[in-house]
Amino acid sequence: APCKARIYTNHWAVRINGGPEFADRIADKYGYKNMGQIGDLKDHYHFFHSRTIKRSTLSSRGGHSFISMEPKVEWIQQQVVKRRTKR
């Protein structure tokens, strides 16, 4: 049977008010790499952290987690692998 546990990745979606340059600074501060805006979603950025577990059944905790305390970080979500099937 396929694994039903949530599988967390080392990618985050972050909503930061302040533009791309500010997002870059925030990403650097906490060890992330800003991969750019998520599609057409304004103020939403793709952050990647190379020093966290690539795939884990536990959500990632560490110094990088304090990014959520930043005042301009409105929302953050560690990405979870979803099972998607071609029909």
């Binding site: 990745t9 057409d40 990405q79 979803k82 998607r84 029909r87």
Partner: protein, 806 residues
Amino acid sequence: DYKVAPPPLSSPAQTSPAQSIFFNDAKWSSMWYIHCNDDIHNCQSDMNIVGAWKRGYTGKDVVITILDDGIERNHPDLIQNYDNQASYDVNGNDMDPMPRYDASNENKHGTRCAGEVAASANNSHCTVGIAYNARIGGVRMLDGDVTDMVEAKSLSLQPQHIDIYSASWGPDDDGKTVDGPASLARQAFENGIRMGRKGRGSIFVWASGNGGRSRDHCSCDGYTNSIYTISISSTAESGRKPWYLEECSSTLTTTYSSGENYDRKIITTDLRQRCTDSHTGTSASAPMAAGIIALALEANPLLSWRDVQHIIVKTSRAGHLNAPDWKTNAAGYNVSHLYGFGLMDAEAMVKEAEQWKQVPAQHICVESADRQIRTIRPEHVVRSVYKATGCIDNSNHHVIYLEHVVVRITITHPRRGDLSINLTSPSGTKSQLLGNRLFDHSMEGFKNWEFMTTHCWGEKAAGDWILEIHDSPSQLRSQKIPGKLKEWSLVLYGTSVHPYSSLRSDKPRSAEPPADEEFTEEYNGLCNSECNENGCEGPGPHQCINCLHYFLKFKNNTRTCVSECPSGFFRDDRKRCKKCSSLCETCVGSRSDQCSTCRPGFHLNEGSNICVASCVDGFYLDHDSNMCRRCNENCKKCTTSNICTECKPGMSLQGNKCQMTCDPGTYYNGHRRTCELCHRACATCAGTGMEACNKCAESYFLEEWRCVSTCSVGYYMAEQTSDNGDVNKSCRKCDHSCYSCTGPGETNCSTCVNGYNLEAGVCVVSTICKDESWAEGSFCVLVKKNNLCQRKVLQQLCCRTCSLKG
């Protein structure tokens, strides 16, 4: 048929409608779902794609992207239409969506989907796409970890450039998963419909679930369940339900795809520059639908995402699609859980698109939540009624005419698959929001899950909505702990003005994004008396929002409210006036055997309730009731209920009745229904006893009405010779003056009554008269003339006259 050169890219098709189109693509003649309208292929319903082509629409200037495992952009049949700007590799984070090749060719899916949409025409290669002049791109996003972010990136790629996003994937169709888009993907949907295509809204086309064999239900897929996606179902060539198909109320429309192993499949481009005729499943239907929508967008680029859905609802047809639950909703649309509104019709869509007026702005009415906790007991039904107003108090959210209906439900339950949920609209349309799922043993229930139905499209929003939750415990359920309905609420999407009403003001088309205006025009005058409390849009009975009594629908899809159904119509349980059979004047149903009265010149047949021009054998016309009523038993023809004129075989007409024909010497006993023996004195008879003889037996003679062996006293044996020489003997009454006699007349007496003496065969009075009586004279003459001398008193009174001979 003759070959016609394909239309050049920049101009519409040159062919006239009478000419058939021919392309030199290798598999062109095998594309059975395209060639429906010729005489060779025995096709029952056509998607009319060639019809749209002949009108000049081939998808030019429309951009479609396939969200999948990549696209082979250098495939000979795709290279001409490939659009780099409509493509991206999310998995590899670069611009090139070429698929990853391996021994199993597992990443062929996207290339197959792309070919259906926009494979080039008349290039000798493989197939022809539905929109063979459209621009086609691909997003490689399934060949890696699919996360919320990956989906959002894909769904929001170049929204001002890409018109249509086609997706043929989703959560597991294992019959036990409940999953859908997370926050980023949902945001991508909302951004897309709000701002994509320069404000007209991106078109998201989604393949419905493939989990038919797992008894899955596509309402548990949040992608197909979304109002922003057009959920596409599949049908086999025969019109039968494919084995993989799921059913749910969120499906909007259907295209052809594969069916059983012996059914034909879809032809398209394959990986490694090949061609395949084995593309299957709902995966094949979504790109086909995307191609058809592309044709409509070419016909009218200003169509909004909701206009496209309206056009699909209006033009899709049930055709020969086989489903047990086809129904007509109150707006007159045929809809089913397997196929939505039916098979797509490309030509009808482009025709509608050409003259389409944009629908009014969408209103969203979030009705109050019902938070009363209800226990869901095993093998019981929980029923909850909510009286929706359609947000009548808020003009910005007022919904009168429905589009999508969403129900948010929170349920706790020990076994989720045992639940089924139905929703009934105020107009009586029942949607199955959830069916039982045999393999879903989850204890998680539903947490504010949004179920969606399209089945109420066009209906009125206000009124009683009924939610029913059934708990059907499966044998696999160990605990019979009851579940609980914690909360449910309605979200009604639609408009406050009729979407196709001529009352709406016409706005000239513009290339600029339309402002978010409302076309609200309300009528404040008196409503017709046939309108109910929901009001009206004008003074006429055809402008009521809901009828007080019944409504009559016309062929042009308009309707009017009436107090009673007119002659020739009957009222059904939904207050509709429906047509009787043509010969009925009044009826209880539409069949020919459901007449109550007949049109002039016809008569109602008793028992069968059909109207006939003349009564058949066995029936007579009752003029008072104008009915053909049954003759009596055994009667073949009759004029009234008890006058028979012709009997059935084996019966004989006796008077006005038919009775069984019996042998001579027997008679028909009506009580015992058998032939019984006559009295021995009778040769033939009509009943029991010697009194019922019709003809006497041998050695018996007819005396008055009976047969006797010897003549009674007062009777003599008379002989009569018939015309054929037969001698008939019978007993006849003696003369009144004789007591007994040997022959007729007063001179053949053999004995006399008391007071008379026999003298030479004549009976004379034996009394010696005394003094002449005062009565002698005319009085006594009368006494003698009337044979009253036998009476003693008169004999004494008229002694002399009675003594005289003569």
